[in-house]
Symmetry: C2
Subunit: 451 residues, 2 copies
């Protein structure tokens, strides 16, 4: 990691791709030109941000040229044909190493594209690079900086994906979340983050096999989150046995009648400024006719059901990560962080009976939360306790994000709040397998709270 | 493959390990001596049978010696400490190649043990070799012969695991089943075959990610099926999100009150001799006081629910295998069988909407079948339409096995029937996540029908 530059911030700004496609047929713009703008941004700031582990500029240019020609002749493969996309480095790519944020995998090449990358290529997307992940998508940071303030973490574990989108390096990047690894970095970096319903996007070839883990999208717009996810699912589906996210090509915005405020166990950790920012946003929504549900038996039950979500998730994830971590430890324990070795030891002390107990608790929590759908169209909270913390030694606290992961429901971080001039996400949670409805409400919120 | 030997049969005979362990402490026998008997059987007949892709005799001897010392000092790691086990060659092993029955993976080494192998080693088991699988655990055979008649198929896709157990090369071997890949070869080879409930044994590092695929056991006794499965699950659990099989160290035999006869779509394909053998067995059970349920609304509904199981499963498996097959085809299509390429092309023509439709049909079939538990303690049928067919060009028809795979319920093939002097399995199906109860009834059947 290079020394911190004198300036504490690089140029930030989201760089959406979908609006640009309208000009591709006329030849005023092209995927290749778009890619070159991304590359210029990378050239200007990547040394300070450290979002990428690997870039394949040569192939990206060739693929962007092919996409440019398809748009020019009116034959794009999909709405995202030519879109530069970054891939979290726990997902396999045929042309680049997959290092899992671990020295054990330095230079490792599987030689194949994971399912989501394969589908993206079939849709014409340009796979520009691999983005930094914490070690095995857990907690050990790998040095990426927050473009909004280089002294702060971008969050994790999808650190590079969020930082790259925030810095305008890319319009979209894939991430994964088992606790808060998409929504927290999206919140800290001021990007849109989308974790789908359980099983929403095929995880084949992504090294996060845990039962509540999901592949998701960090992007420059809500429409890009939806479109990238949908184009993948059309071509390769969700996880085996799941329907995958379902919905139309474009989701029209729809006003909710009722939004429930779920404070969760994180509320006590949230900064006063963050709580005030959310409160102000909810007041604006109320003024537009939305009923904010802050009490009632179903909400209280849902609050209680997720109160221990962080602890229970720790047990679930720990047990499920025993393998292959135990195999990797046997290979070379010196290349695994102390934190990860401690976690493995705890999981080994746990036993399968305890695992059965915690997954049963999770199943019960899901049944309880589902009843909240009778009282609210969606659920709002903060996407993080506050703005990104100073320091690169930790990627922050996922306490606000773990409920949606635990419950298997869709969740979005919308960059609609701020704390001291730094980004902060409004978190919107939906109901399982109702992702399109969730995006419709998010679209309305994003429009009304910005306007 | 060598030319067919003059004799059409090799020495067969199941070689159970658990009874031998009683003599290990006294020093009259040892895991090392047991292993040497296995190696002698392999030496005598492996060239004709072709059950293995790879053997690691050196490590097996070292591991058996270590186990011998543990038994001698009264400190075995588990009841299966020292048991020689074979591993279907779609499951990763740190010390041997994993070739997936495909020329594309010739010599490929992942360098890590899959979850089940890691757990077996922790339990002290001796991983002796990798057993032959059809290409990608699908249908293209790889030359293994049936020890009971070398002109016949051993079945597939777990061809080598079943043949090795039947020939007394091993007391147990791991297999996998998504249609009929454990029970059919077990039936053809006269071994015990166990496919657990959905998610029953952790599939990490096994290359069969389909939603109804399971890791299971082919073994020399019912107790060995149970014990090997249980010892794995104690150490690494079931699939992420599943409880894994649950039950006591030894399952006491228990007489069923009622057994339902589920004829399934395979009935019309069964030989007269096979049907007569099953009929005679059911008459014996009836004489012992078991009610054989052959009619009723719940049974008729269950029959109807699985009538299309083979076709629906073909759609489900096809879609779920698109990735990574599409990636492998892009790498080198000349190394993939025509059958597999055709299957991939059909899946690519299918679309995610059709997939959603077929998994919804499967979910409905599971709900309907579950109601049969009110009318019967377990379900009996044939494990194959008859004895193993002549010829090595096909591994036979899984029509009798697909319902249990489709329904996600535990199933056993018990070597209690025969056709023309060749083995034939009685299939016992249970109810989801009730594997111990299922084994209890199987234990009673195995005792009463042999006695």
């Amino acid at each position: 990691m290079m020394a911190l530059a004198e300036t504490q911030k690089v140029a930030t700004g989201l760089r959406p791709y979908l609006p640009a496609t309208g000009t591709f047929a006329a030849g005023k713009d092209s995927p290749r030109a778009f890619l070159e703008r991304c590359l210029a941004a990378i050239e200007a700031a990547e040394k300070q941000v450290g979002a990428f582990v690997h870039l394949n500029v040569e192939r990206a240019r060739a693929d962007a040229d092919a996409a440019s020609e398809r748009w020019r002749t009116g034959q794009p493969l999909s709405p995202i044909d030519g879109m530069p996309v970054g891939i979290k480095d726990i997902m396999e790519t045929e042309d680049m190493p997959t290092e899992l944020g671990s020295p054990l995998f330095a230079g490792w090449r599987s030689g194949r594209d994971c399912a989501a990358v394969r589908a993206l290529r079939e849709a014409g997307a340009v796979i520009l690079g691999k983005t930094v992940t914490t070690e095995f998508a857990a907690t050990e940071p790998r040095g990426t900086r927050n473009p909004h303030d280089l002294s702060r973490t971008p969050g994790g574990s999808s650190s590079g994906s969020a930082a790259a989108v925030a810095a305008g390096f890319l319009p979209a990047a894939l991430g994964t979340q088992v606790v808060g690894s998409i929504l927290r970095p999206a919140s800290y970096c001021g990007a849109f983050g989308y974790k789908p319903s359980l099983g929403g996007i095929n995880r084949g070839g992504s090294h996060d096999p845990m039962s509540q883990s999901c592949t998701g999208i960090i992007a420059a717009s809500l429409a890009e989150c939806w479109t990238v996810a949908r184009e993948i699912v059309l071509r390769i589906g969700g996880d085996a046995g799941y329907p995958g996210i379902v919905g139309p090509a474009a989701v029209p915005a729809k006003a909710p009648q009722r939004l429930a405020l779920l404070r969760t166990a994180g509320w006590g950790k949230a900064s006063d400024a963050a709580k005030a920012a959310l409160d102000a946003a909810l007041k604006r929504l109320a003024a537009k006719g939305v009923t904010i549900v802050e009490s009632g038996a179903e909400l209280a039950a849902a609050e209680a059901a997720v109160a221990e979500a962080q602890t229970v998730t720790k047990h679930i994830d720990g047990w499920e990560a025993r393998w292959p971590l135990n195999v990797y430890r046997a290979r070379d324990a010196s290349k695994i962080s102390k934190h990860m070795l401690d976690r493995l030891a705890a999981a080994e002390a746990m036993g399968v009976e305890k695992y059965r107990e915690v997954i049963a608790r999770r199943a019960e929590a899901r049944r309880i939360y589902a009843r909240l759908a009778d009282r609210a169209d969606a659920v709002v909270s903060l996407a993080a306790p506050g703005a990104a913390p100073v320091g690169l030694g930790s990627t922050g606290d996922g306490v606000f994000n773990v409920p949606a992961s635990f419950l298997g429901v869709p969740a979005l971080s919308l960059p609609l709040l701020a704390e001291s001039g730094l980004p902060l996400g409004l978190q919107l949670m939906g109901f399982e397998q109702r992702d399109a409805e969730h995006h419709a409400i998010a679209g309305w919120l994003a429009r009304e709270l910005v306007a």
